[in-house]
Symmetry: C2
Subunit: 432 residues, 2 copies
């Protein structure tokens, strides 16, 4: 029976079998210290037998091993526990040494090199930790929504119509017909509110914008929810706060090793996340961002950073809702603020000074859709399927989309979203 490296303490005084990769090997005179890495952590193996030492001397890093030995508690060992008197079985002796030194506390290599060698670089304990956090986050997202009666859906990624105005799309040759990669599941999740009232989806979205920033990718994972019978966007914001709380809890309980390894400071989600109107956000942000101009209709990254500082200083909060973005900057399906023409019932949720979530109330009346499309000179024809849902009764509804990679980047303090994406896609990068 095999044990995980992270469970070794439970086996103190007993024999145990580990399996994993030769992470590091150093000789100190007659004694050798082998660090074995498995899918969860590291274990120190103390080798005193000269024959075993000699065998390990001949192995390359990343050799795949099975190691059996006695578990000893030891104050000097990393984690306070180590394996003694091992027998070692070599499962795989790889042909080459890794292009990166995985045994250093931090990967000392240029970011591009790390991405080029992702299949190996991701084995580094710090490098893989964000993906343990991502896995826990997705589980927390789904658990929070399932507990509230949401149904998980899977909607097509090859579509006949672009979904988000403004954002450019990737073209697909679909049996000789033009098609696109879905920029979001927006239309489908709204349609499905007519079916299940409450739906969510976790899946890839594709944006063909030729941006080259630390916070944009051309393919990313969107965690979407949409639900009906809301009062307005505030119902959506209340749900989102609960979902984010569930995600933080899941990260704390399901990825504690990764949290500890990276020294992640998990955010507190206040009972009521502070919320300010877009116009107020500009007043706060512009002096801080050194920007002015009352005519701004959107927030810049500088604004967001300033607002993040303000939320921390004024409310002690890592989160800040900005509500009521100008209609002109939101997609056609956005519900206007009935009391404040020109502004919308939509919001962004900033997390530590970066936009993490976009959401809001959507239009739900067929006639409102027809007017909105008309005002924007958009043809209803390509949207026939979408509009059919509204033609046959849709309740007031809304939802949100959380960017998984941005969430993880904010948690672990990654400067670039590529650090928390397994195999990022950008203008330059299509492999590995």
């Amino acid at each position: 029976m095999r044990a995980w490296s992270t469970e070794l303490r439970e086996y103190a005084g007993r024999d145990v079998a580990l399996a994993g990769w030769l992470h590091h090997w150093r000789r100190l005179g007659q004694i050798g210290f082998l660090i074995l890495r498995d899918g969860r952590g590291l274990a120190q193996v103390v080798v005193e037998d000269p024959e075993v030492c000699a065998r390990i001397d001949g192995l390359k890093r990343e050799s795949v091993l099975r190691v059996r030995g006695e578990v000893h508690l030891s104050a000097r060992a990393p984690g306070g526990v180590e394996l003694h008197a091992p027998t070692i079985e070599i499962l795989v002796a790889p042909p080459a040494v890794p292009p990166l030194d995985l045994s250093r506390p931090h990967l000392a290599a240029a970011p591009a090199l790390v991405l080029d060698h992702a299949p190996v670089a991701l084995r580094h304990p710090r490098r893989r930790a964000p993906f343990e956090i991502a896995s826990a986050s997705m589980a927390g997202f789904r658990a929070a929504l399932r507990a509230r009666g949401f149904v998980e859906i899977q909607t097509p990624k090859v579509v006949g119509t672009a979904t988000e105005s403004g954002a450019s799309v990737f073209s697909v040759d679909y049996f000789g017909r033009p098609a696109f990669l879905a920029q979001s599941p927006q239309f489908y999740k709204q349609i499905m509110v007519g079916v299940f009232e409450r739906v969510f989806e976790v899946g890839p979205v594709f944006r063909a914008e030729p941006h080259d920033t630390p916070r944009h990718l051309n393919e990313y994972v969107s965690m979407d929810a949409e639900f009906g019978f809301i009062d307005d966007h505030t119902t959506v914001m209340a749900l989102l706060a609960e979902v984010v709380r569930g995600m933080v809890t899941a990260v704390a309980t399901e990825a504690p090793d990764a949290v500890a390894r990276l020294g992640v400071r998990l955010p507190a989600v206040p009972p009521s996340i502070p919320a300010i109107h877009f116009t107020r956000a500009l007043e706060i942000a512009e002096p801080r961002a050194g920007q002015s101009g009352a005519e701004m209709s959107d927030l810049t990254p500088q604004h967001e950073r300033g607002l993040g500082e303000w939320a921390r200083e004024t409310h002690g909060s890592d989160f800040l809702f900005v509500v009521g973005f100008p209609m002109s900057k939101r997609p056609f399906y956005t519900h206007p603020d009935p009391r404040r023409p020109g502004y919308s019932n939509s919001f962004d949720l900033l997390f530590r000074g970066t936009e993490l979530v976009t959401g809001g109330q959507r239009l739900h009346l067929y006639e409102d859709y027809m007017s909105a499309l008309g005002r924007r000179n958009l043809s209803p024809a390509p949207l026939a399927g979408y509009l059919e849902a509204f033609r046959h009764g849709m309740p007031p509804h809304g939802g949100f989309a959380i960017g998984l990679e941005r969430w993880v980047a904010g948690l672990v303090g990654a400067a670039n979203v590529r650090e928390v994406t397994l195999f990022p896609r950008d203008q330059q990068r299509l492999a590995p």
Copy 2:
């Protein structure tokens, strides 16, 4: 506080508020019977007030309503409970009547028409039930794997290299460079075995085959798992059996209404799923399928049906493993059977006579990959990232991929996989 239609019994004798869609309305003299549909089920509302009756007379189907009334137990009511003395608030009065009669027990319309009007047709209680089952199945898949230490991953769908030999790919214009839609997460999930040992992914896959069958789609949802330190394919089969068991349990416990509505007979997953070698499968299937020819190197759908009957008659099992497919029909990464050259350590799992899962042990030695590519005249250059994982130590590993839509089709007895796909994609269909 709003109640779900499915919870009405719990409110017997009390006032309750429901919300949903006007599913059906009929007058019997002075009394009217309104069937309200919400995201979960149906509720009967008895209307005796002539003014309320008159208001409902003027409403179209699929009007969105809030209904408050007294909950009465009644043997004559569907489900034994109904709402009396209702007050009705009309939230949305839609502009048109639905193109399909959603109130019939079965949707009486041609399959193509139902798909054309999916945004409305999916509201039908029988039509939406398979997606409640799909949602529960995904939850069961993930729960079974998370309980066994698997990490959820999200891998790119836009890729630089085709993954599955034989299957054709969709092309994407990626900033002027050629790219493809991923036919499977195969390469990435194998790479990630080097990182976490145990990984899974639920996501879309894309196949450009121009097939037109009841069991193929050009985009579908693949539930993938892959893990290391296995003995051989039998370790994979044992895990798969546990995962399928977890999925059945999740469907039973999390989608009982849908199971009841469709009269789904849930399969028993036997403690040991019967398994036969490919050569034996041909012997069994060929007489039944009326096909012969000992030179067969794959199973046809007729074979699979015959084997399904055989498994049921001989073993009382809905499931059957066919093991050891010829190497010539399996992808280059397939591990051969060391004791039987020409055959592989791979398997299919048949469910009720249809291939549901493909899986097996993979090659794990770098030199074996180089030989396998050489034998198939495949260039290693486009696979550089994938091969890098093997160049630096990969344990014996394997995995499987379950087709979500086929699973649900098998459960509910759908003749065509399109019936259990929200918005299917085939050669003809790119919308809605």
